[in-house]
Amino acid sequence: MSALAWLIPCALVLGGAGLAAFLWALNSGQFEDLEGAGWRAIQDDAEERKPPNAG
């Protein structure tokens, strides 16, 4: 029975971590563009490229 003392908190913490991750993803807009996110992963140099004439 003493195993319960740490097994139950473990289960709750793991579940809670999952929930927290989900809420973080939702609040930070991860679900806003489900189609585009897949494409972004395979774009090569979208990040590095300097805009040509930005002030």
Binding site: G29, W39, R40, Q43
Partner: protein
């Protein structure tokens, strides 16, 4: 959305150098032709190249881009101009109901996450208690588990079940009952009784049932909301189809670029070849061909000269014209179509789904049973605590879990079966409405036909003539020209563009050839005489006086006739409603075997025709593809679109089918009717299980384990029955309509 998106934009991705000490403003753009990841990158780069733009983030699903910019250096118009140089049509997004809807969906998703977390953990504890009851768990451990369940379940239910509480309260205030009333009552009573029994150390604890119910019901709620948002988003993006920048010629002849929404009636607007017309207006000078496919669904361009009326959103194909605006922005035809659609969709919103109709009978019965149980046990003298416990058990046993699953489970099976056949069902209640239709109205171009003309008299035309004609035609965007080129390529001929081809608006193409000229175009222009006997033709003069006529037709889809006769055999009335010319419509109707047809129908005329059928008590299935069909698709009882349809029509339709064949229409109707029948079967199963267990609950013999078992067993039975739909062979004729 502005706030939320701005924070997203601060992340990695697309940050341009900051301009120190400047203000920032967020602009949201609708970008029409952004279809893939490469487009997304191009759009972002182009926007970042505009001075003053700090961040730009494209959203592919929503076809939108959000830009943070310094208003002193740049504005929305310069962003739109930049994108149009890259080949994308963009417009400033009009933020209306969209933001609120997206927030509500996010809110539901958040509650769903919490309910999912809580139900998983509570089930973990409950299963332990049930297993422990059969082995060696002592009372103190069971009590600990109940307390833990209470700690997890109660705050989660208080938060996650709010949509049901809110809806139930609203229904009660309006003095009616909806399904949310017994749901809320069941959840609340079960939770509070469970808390009470936990304090007392009893076994009548139903936290697991309460939180699971909340979780499953939230899933259904969220899916419904998603469908609604998608439909509304497309209606708003439609506004982006309008030409958004116009070139205005002032009284002194000065030329000025301005946003289309600033145009006033009476202004003179210059429309270059290849540009979209920004206003409804009248041509004052110039001659051209106007591609009206966006408005009328017809592929053939219309000839326009001084005095002709042309509409906003149409495409100027051959030569520049000057147009005097007669109506602008909000009063244009396109804006009118958007409004017609919105109105039509609101009308359809009154449809009452099968599950809701069932709940109108079911909800009062549940309340009566629960109350009767409580009163009965009180009268016998069991005391209020036992009486309330038994009444709660009745509410949980009758809780509409199987009922809430009965219809969705069948619909999921049906949609996955249809998906395998290339039919995508979009509206949650679409299948139900499809099952109840008794009349099918087809659009012609692009629906009953392929939507592109093909060469009809290919046998009379030699290879040499065809390849000559194609060498001219390859320079033109006209659908007949494209058909000539396709026909030549289909014969394996190499098409080489001729030198010095000139396109004469409204007439045809010409190229110099030795002494004379080669001409491909209308009869009057090529031969000098207009018999008007063959309107759907091109005439070709090879420069030596040999004239060949090329005839075209918009070919029917291969199985149109078979599908129409199958529909008739199954008892449907079939008719044809088209914006095209009467002769073409009559020929298509005859070829497809349709007896009732009308031609030259405008979008509002299509709605009127459907309303008239409605008034006769008919339930109309509209099958259409053009923008001009969109309002009719939204107004009809149910609707289908081919996947080649315009975005807006696909969104208005309940289901979209792929491929060259019309047979998916038959499959969709057969599956829809089978879905309706199996939903009723599932209600039967759910009710049968109630007949067995409700007496037990009333009698006070139900324990939490029996409640959970009964709930799962009925749900499994309903789901297994639903899955049968995926394999069964169905034929439309054998499926009777049920209402």
């Amino acid at each position: 959305m502005g706030q939320a998106l701005t924070s997203v934009l601060d992340g990695p991705g697309a940050a341009a150098p900051n301009i120190p000490g400047s203000r920032s403003e967020t602009v949201s753009l609708v970008v029409e032709d952004m279809y893939c990841g490469a487009c997304m990158t191009t759009v972002e780069r182009a926007l970042l190249g505009v001075p003053g733009v700090r961040t730009a983030r494209a959203n592919l699903s929503a076809r939108r881009a959000t830009v943070a910019l310094d208003p002193s250096l740049s504005d929305a118009q310069s962003l739109i101009d930049t994108l149009s140089r890259e080949g994308y049509r963009a417009a400033e997004a009009i933020e209306t109901t969209d933001v609120r809807d997206a927030r509500r969906a996010d809110d539901l998703l958040r509650r769903l996450g919490v309910a999912g977390f809580a139900s998983a953990n509570v089930m973990l504890l409950s299963v332990s208690v049930w297993a422990g009851a059969a082995s060696d768990m002592d009372q103190s451990a069971a009590s600990l588990f109940h307390w833990l369940s209470a700690l997890i379940a109660m705050p989660s239910i208080a938060y996650a079940a709010q949509p049901f509480f809110g809806s139930a309260a609203a229904a009660l205030r309006a003095r009616r009952l909806n399904m949310d009333v017994p749901i809320s009552l069941g959840i609340t009573l079960a939770t509070s009784m469970s808390l009470f029994q936990t304090v007392r150390g009893s076994h009548q604890v139903y936290f697991d049932a309460a939180i699971m119910l909340t979780f499953f019901l939230l899933i259904g709620r969220f899916l419904d909301e998603q469908v609604r948002i998608k439909a509304r988003g497309a209606a708003e993006n439609l506004l982006g189809l309008k030409a958004l920048t116009a070139t205005v010629i002032g009284g002194d002849g000065a030329v000025q670029r301005m946003a289309a929404r600033l145009l006033k009636p009476g202004m003179q607007v210059y429309v270059a070849a290849g540009e979209r017309v920004p206003v409804d207006g009248r041509v004052v000078s110039g001659k051209t061909d106007i591609d009206e496919s966006l408005i009328t669904g017809e592929t053939l361009p219309r000839w326009a000269e001084a005095g002709s009326e042309i509409h906003a959103g149409t495409l100027n194909m051959t030569a520049a014209v000057i147009v005097e605006a007669t109506a602008t922005d909000d009063s244009t035809l396109l804006a009118e179509i958007a409004r017609l659609m919105q109105a039509a969709e609101q009308g359809r919103g009154q449809y009452v789904r099968l599950a809701d109709r069932a709940s109108r009978l079911y909800a009062p019965a549940v309340h009566v049973l629960g109350a009767a149980t409580f009163i009965g046990w009180m009268l016998i003298g069991a005391g209020w605590e036992a009486a309330l416990t038994y009444a709660t058990a009745v509410l949980i046993i009758t809780c509409p879990c199987a009922l809430a699953l009965a219809v969705p489970a069948v619909q999921v099976a049906a949609t996955s079966r249809l998906f395998g056949k290339g039919v995508i069902v979009k509206a949650a209640d679409g299948l139900e409405r499809l099952a109840e239709t008794d009349t099918v109205v087809f659009d012609k171009t692009g629906t009953l036909t392929r939507g592109e003309p093909v060469l009809r008299n290919g046998g009379d035309v030699s290879d040499a003539v065809l390849v000559d004609a194609a060498s001219l035609a390859v320079a033109s965007r006209h659908p007949y020209s494209k058909a000539v080129v396709r026909a030549a390529r289909a014969r394996g001929l190499a098409v080489v563009a001729a030198q010095g081809v000139l396109e004469v608006p409204g007439s045809g193409l010409l190229a110099p050839c030795g002494e004379g000229e080669r001409r491909l175009g209308s009869e009057a222009w090529v031969t000098g005489t207009d018999t008007a006997a063959q309107p759907e033709s091109l005439w070709y003069d090879d420069g030596n006086g040999t004239i060949t006529v090329l005839r075209f037709e918009d070919e029917l889809r291969p199985d149109a006739r078979v599908v129409v006769s199958a529909l008739k055999a199954a008892g449907y009335e079939v008719s044809l409603l088209s914006g095209d010319r009467p002769a073409a419509v009559e020929r298509a109707a005859r070829a497809a075997g349709i007896d009732v047809w009308s031609a030259s129908v405008r979008p509002d005329g299509k709605i009127a025709a459907i309303e008239a059928l409605k008034a006769q008590g008919r339930r109309v299935l509209m099958v259409g593809d053009g923008l001009n069909d969109a309002p009719a698709l939204a107004a009809a009882y149910a609707s289908l679109s081919p996947s080649t349809a315009t975005d807006i029509s696909q969104t208005a339709a309940d289901a979209v089918f792929q491929g060259q064949s019309l047979a998916p229409i038959l499959e969709t109707l057969a599956v829809a009717r089978a879905t309706q029948r199996m939903s009723l079967e599932n209600f039967g199963i759910a009710i049968a299980y109630n007949i067995v267990f409700v007496p037990l609950a009333i009698g006070g013999w139900v324990t939490p384990l029996i409640a959970a078992l009964a709930m799962s067993l009925s749900s499994i039975a309903v789901t297994v029955n639903a899955l049968r739909l995926r394999r069964r062979s169905l034929s439309l004729a054998s499926m009777r309509r049920m209402t």
